[in-house]
Symmetry: D5
Subunit: 164 residues, 10 copies
């Protein structure tokens, strides 16, 4: 747990594009020394969803704001004021292509495996897409003697293309 | 099984960027009416890897070429001649951002969930990346009464950042 | 109705590109708990037009400024001062392609259905365009047991191409 | 009905990016002097969907191929061979931003009215999107003494954002 | 009048993006040694409109095709076949920004004088645009002892912005 | 005449790229309720040139600064201080392609009519360009019962290409 | 003098964008073993101008075509046919920024010294530009014991900005 | 000599990208009414180099800082503090392509004459480049009755390509 | 050793994209007159790694923060507060392509020698990549009578491509 | 040694941008089963230089052409004809940013370590650059029990910036 923690919200920081409350949330999380998983348990959601909400990519509902304010010791009114009922996410963060190697590898996954994945989806499901709206994302750590592995999963509804 | 099948390799087809043998492979696959999974079993690999190799995103070894030629009834020498030992993949297919909705949704996954995924990887693993080189990709169909779901998984080794 | 509501006008917020009064209008709307439709009725226009004017994509006339100031309890002089007679909209908001999924889907509509729509317009009307200047836009909610539907309509004058 | 009609499939023609059968279909349509609406009736679909399929933005099923071959007097086998069961659309046509004024006006609609439309969708439906996959597009001609009007409608399912 | 004239339709030639008949028209024009003005008189239009139609930026009607075929000694059927009733212009030529100095100077006119022109249009006409659809373009030569001058005029209808 | 008028000089306002005195000039113009034409008469120039100078696209000379200060009731020293003898215009305003429909239509004029205009200039003048430096721009209102028309004229010196 | 010489006119060769006669001219020049300077003397021009004309960036007049055909032993009619009176240069070659180091260094000259050069031009000449149309370019070799030097000169007319 | 002079260092001013001392230097130069040539004499360098250093494209050494401080009446310590020994130029100014016509003409020189210049350099010097690092740039005024001319010279060392 | 040194963290400075502490670190380094090599010795790392950490491209651990604070005489708490345990690098600095000639030459190395290096890597190692994560970078000075040389080395682990 | 080997020179192959002889050279190399190192020994150069020459990024001299023709059993005249004395490399291959992971990692090296490398070069050498013209590149394999390593070295002359 850090005594103090300042989260940079200028330059190319992802917080530079978000309402100021998000940098405050990140500072409170650092100060409390809580993980996304611990926060997730406090509000009854998964850690990746919570992380996406902490970067303004999802919308907290009223109960989540209350629970979050309590666990992070910040006034709920600050959250209501900036990202309450009147606010809607403007999704999509960062430049394209990303320069950060962690992000770039995900992007490279689309460049290299995107077309093969499309081919398999069509072969298994027909003409349509994997929804990125009705989609759940998880990140797991799989221990491995040759080096631990990151297991990243997108679980999205198949949507068949309409014809009319 | 189609009597004949011509695979377009001009315009914005992914085959337009690849050695001509790849369109021939796709035509043979269509003519034989085989799925990637059936081909994968024939050469002892996973279907997504086979699909990536069918789009020139991976390199068949000599045994795989022989097995493939047999199951698809095409001369192995054609494969050796074009994508044999002297050939190496030039990976990455298609324009960015992709216009096809199936590909775009994957790309949108990076835009919307990329930064949260990075945050979770750092929290769980420290400073480093999920390798897209030592990475296995799978696409599964999960039946669901509200509509079947696509489960897309990246299982990549965590690589800690070197310091020196 | 929110006690207070702060509308972020920095970063990638659409308000970042607009005169500051627009964020104030949005805050007043949130504070009053009014919908675009309720505001539209107050000034005698349609809700989509009002929303476009609230994002600086249309110009309020003097009567609309007076009516709006009254219903939102803000001084009309503030509106006159910033977006009064001397001000003209500089239309067009956001980056292209948009990263937000709601906006991207509209953009995808142009990518996928734009050329077919052009073909139908020529077949039905001849050589010319659908005006986006003399055009009315509406957004309706159509209840549906399989999931409510958004009905988005552009009603634009056909303009035949001049020859001379 | 034209005696002969050649459809340009090079340069910046949309057919330059599509399998060659699409230019052949367009030529047959011109030769027969049929409208998209007449073709649509022949295969039991709407004219905009048929136009989108004629530009490779949708996939004909086997029955549609048979019906189309009959009404256009072309061998069904040609269609099966190029865009039969083994083929899947690679959607998205043309450069962005479009230079053609008909297409540009649609694109301008996204630039100018996209953010207001998003605001209305959120206000009426909550956090989510209008699907462009489960979406029906129509183009109608509305007579008007001051100049006929194009009525373009997108009727798309609302998809609420998943939380998990 | 040239005995023969070949018009390059590859590389960065504007004809590279157009149906092949346009290069043939340009070759016939060169062979006959006719100016756009002479051609314009032959079909009863202005020279700039004819030049725009010779670059595929406008559509000849049936009478114009017949008149043109006669004055250029080419079969009208060739024109009907390629750019007859079934063909519609896909307007917009060349890369942006243009590299050719003649084109660039026009583009520079938009960069330097575009915003002042917008300000004057709003001051004189109110909220709206100068139509580029209902617009006539002329290019005149004005003799001047200090060097002849090009007088380029756009005469376009003012379209007031719809409100609804 | 407005009591007060604030000109936004942030976001995507053209004033955001200019020395702050230009927003002050625009505010003074609004406060005085003067048109560009009235200002032009006060300093002995044309209205379009004055508008271009009010957007930093031309340079006021010392006499013009004095005259302008007088008619707008602002200290001449402020103008001398910011855009006096030591200052030179950095011409070119706004993003490309422009998103504002008024500006875009001018840009579309280059896309659609640029190549035809180039062809006519070469035919009438030979190898060279229309100068955009020795060029006068005017915007006139032409009354028309079917809708008033904007007449935009570029009157530029023809410059023959040097050979050496 | 080469027995034979083939000039590549595909891929990223500058000849790929030019009428085919230009590659033929370059091949004839190589076969004859002539320098641009020798060709320049044969037609009475400077070598840099001749090189620019050999890359389609200037227009040969009729006498130059005759002289060139003689010195290169190629039929003048071929030149007249492709780049004769009916042809006009479409100037500007290559991608931007250039990847070739020779070209890039020139481009870097604009990036690094462009703004200082502009400042000096304004200080010495006032408000205006150095013409790139009425401009002569020379490339000289200056022997130097520490390594020979390239002396590249642009000698262009100063054009004062019009005011009106 | 101006009593006061403020140099804009926001928006698209080149000073917006530089340490604040550079705007201060430009203001002092304006206040003193000195030309780059007069400043150059004061520190023993050429005027173009001095102009490049005034735009942060070169590095003043300690003696130059002292001399400059004296002639401009500003504290040398301010210069040492911001652009002293610890500072290195980050060269390259402005957007590409440039919108300002003075800068654009230089850029057009690369587009139009770059490839011919490359051809002449290779013909006269062999495989290598003109250095833009060991390069001296001068701008001279050449009086001419038909209009004064700008003579811009790049005098750069030829660097042969290494082979190894 | 400078008495004072201000490091510009606005405009196009690399520090503009980083948490403010990095400009403070650079100022302390300048004030102390220490080289990266001296700092590297103080914290037990190589100079290039330290330089990369000083530009926010690597993460200091807790001991390094303590050692650095001591040698630079700044409070360790400032470092912990801004770039402590809760902070992770967002790697990648500057625009692409870079305009600064030092950076551009590295980039040109990729343009010119990238494909040959890829060919050699495949020939020597097979299908895979040189890791830029498990990679050590060094910069050495090699004295040479014809001019000292920079020896830049990337020592990265070969990662074979996974197949599955 | 392959009996036959066809090198794809279309699509996104690097050979698509080069004179056709380069694909022939690559095919001959594959047929002979020779490495770049073996070829390098045959013509007395380093393997990376030879690889760069095999991709058209360097120029073979007459002796190298003769030696190469002999070792590869191809007619020297073919090489003289296409890339002989009259030909000069047009350097720079592939799109930017590269999509191939091997190339991208080099590019990422510039993004992540470029600014730190620049800082070290200035600290050790002063104001100037590492030449990419007088630069030798090597790629070595360093065995390592934890996985072999690629050692990539750029050995380039330091060029101090001219002042004048």
């Amino acid at each position: 747990m850090a005594q103090t923690a300042t989260v940079h919200s200028g330059g190319n920081s992802p917080f530079a594009d978000l309402p100021p409350i998000y940098a405050k949330l990140a500072e409170a999380k650092a100060r409390k020394g809580l993980t996304y998983d611990q926060l997730a348990k406090a509000i009854g959601k998964d850690e990746v969803w919570v992380a996406s909400a902490f970067y303004g990519q999802a919308k907290f509902n009223l109960e989540q704001i209350e629970a979050l304010a309590k666990v992070l010791d910040i006034p709920a009114s600050n959250l209501h004021n900036e990202v309450g009922e009147h606010w809607w996410p403007n999704r999509g963060l960062g430049t394209t292509p990303p320069t950060d190697p962690v992000l770039y590898r995900l992007y490279e996954g689309v460049l290299v495996y995107g077309t093969p994945i499309k081919a398999i989806i069509h072969e298994k499901f027909g003409d349509g897409i994997m929804s990125m709206i009705d989609c759940k994302v998880t990140v797991d750590k799989k221990p491995d003697p040759k080096g631990d592995r990151v297991v990243l999963t997108f679980d999205g509804k198949f949507l068949p293309y309409a014809t009319w």
